[in-house]
């Protein structure tokens, strides 16, 4: 029976799992759970994951959620996966766990808070909250500082000084890619000071191509749509401010 992956490619951890399957030649069926349509709250999906989150995998009778747990399971259960993704070496593996655990309350927490509150919230039925966005940016920037100065220490092309990517690279990289949907000047302000992070993003893109491009296609489409909406809003703002000015002169 083929592995089933329940995912929405607009979700960072979903993309990490889908790219992992593709790059490692795992035969799988991708089933879309549309977060914008709130399909994660359907009774059928809640049977798979009562936490109403994607991704979820079903491998025969075995169901699993939480993307880090899924990536580890896939790396161990499918014999074709190259060792660098989740090395057998006890020490290397422990460091990968450490990065992944750190991710939850730092990079992920900050990035989700920021991106939802400046861009994606309305698509998920949530309001944009500038105060929450500011807090999100603070946490996100602190996390990027730590990636730059600590997790990318050394001369390796990837996290933990490695020359090949691990599941930690994939997970954190997909998180940061979500910043594509925010305003260009916001992204430049946040990512600009982190040169090593920028180089690592390029390295991870290159290491995961062509799957990176294909799986992130939807993100770039959403980015385009949001940019168009912003342009329309800016024109409309200018028009209304002209009107206001005219009005106030009357």
């Amino acid at each position: 029976m083929r592995l089933k992956v329940y995912a929405d490619r607009m979700s960072e951890p979903s993309r990490a799992v889908v790219i992992f399957c593709k790059i490692n030649g795992i035969d799988f069926e991708e089933i879309k759970v549309d977060l914008a349509k709130r399909q994660q709250y359907s009774p059928e999906f809640k049977e798979l994951n009562p936490m109403s989150k994607v991704p979820v995998i079903v491998d025969g009778k075995f169901k699993l959620f939480e993307s880090h747990a899924i990536l580890i399971y896939l790396a161990c259960a499918f014999p074709g996966v190259a060792d660098h993704w989740y090395p057998n070496d006890l020490f290397k593996r422990a460091k990968i766990h450490s990065v992944l655990d750190w991710h939850h309350s730092n990079l992920r927490y900050g990035a989700v808070k920021f991106v939802q509150n400046v861009a994606l919230g309305p698509a998920l039925g949530l309001p944009l909250n500038p105060e929450a966005a500011a807090l999100g940016e603070k946490i996100l920037s602190a996390a990027l500082d730590k990636i730059e100065s600590f997790w990318l220490k050394g001369n390796g092309k990837f996290l933990l000084g490695s020359n090949q990517p691990s599941i930690a690279d994939l997970s954190l990289f997909c998180e940061i890619m979500q910043l594509e949907v925010v305003d260009e000047k916001d992204r430049t302000r946040i990512l600009g000071p982190h040169k090593k992070v920028q180089q690592w993003i390029e390295n991870t893109k290159n290491a995961t191509r062509p799957h990176f491009d294909e799986v992130h296609k939807i993100l770039f489409k959403v980015k385009e749509r949001l940019q168009q909406q912003q342009s329309v809003a800016a024109i409309s703002d200018n028009t209304s401010s002209t009107k206001t000015t005219l009005h106030s002169k009357m």
Copy 2:
């Protein structure tokens, strides 16, 4: 060379690691990092963990932080550790990863936010914030609901329907024990509706005794001190309100 564990027993994940070492007969040296004295920010400690968090272990030349990563490492590196703590079985192990990953943004996030904002904040140099406490309680209660209805599903005494504890039980249990320092009526309101959680707490206490009692001693001392402070504050409040009443009659 003996394993070194840098910890503060007032920290939930520190207690989990210390109990794990003791219960599995791991020979270790515990080095206190006093969070109330902000020792986690010292240059010496930042050499061990630039994130300024406890616990950290040093095993020979190998340094590691993030408590879940540490528990997994210890279970794999020390041959005396019983299999039930971190089973070799791929499927059981994957489920334990799933619980541990879920923990970060749910039980831990809610519990820390709540406990710091109703009780422990001032000891760490942070103000008490009733609004943050209310949000923390909401997230904490939702997490307890999920433990009750999902992670404790079945007839096992422990998480995931097991009859013996795993590192996931230890980690989540130490988190919930932190509620000991909050006001009795708050704890009753929050834990009261969760009968299976209460029974699981008792099961985990019993399974980790006598180490549970010894390692949590400091928490119970802090609880006693906070209760005394509250009694004094209540008496002083009564006195001042009497005075105010008298004053207003004047």
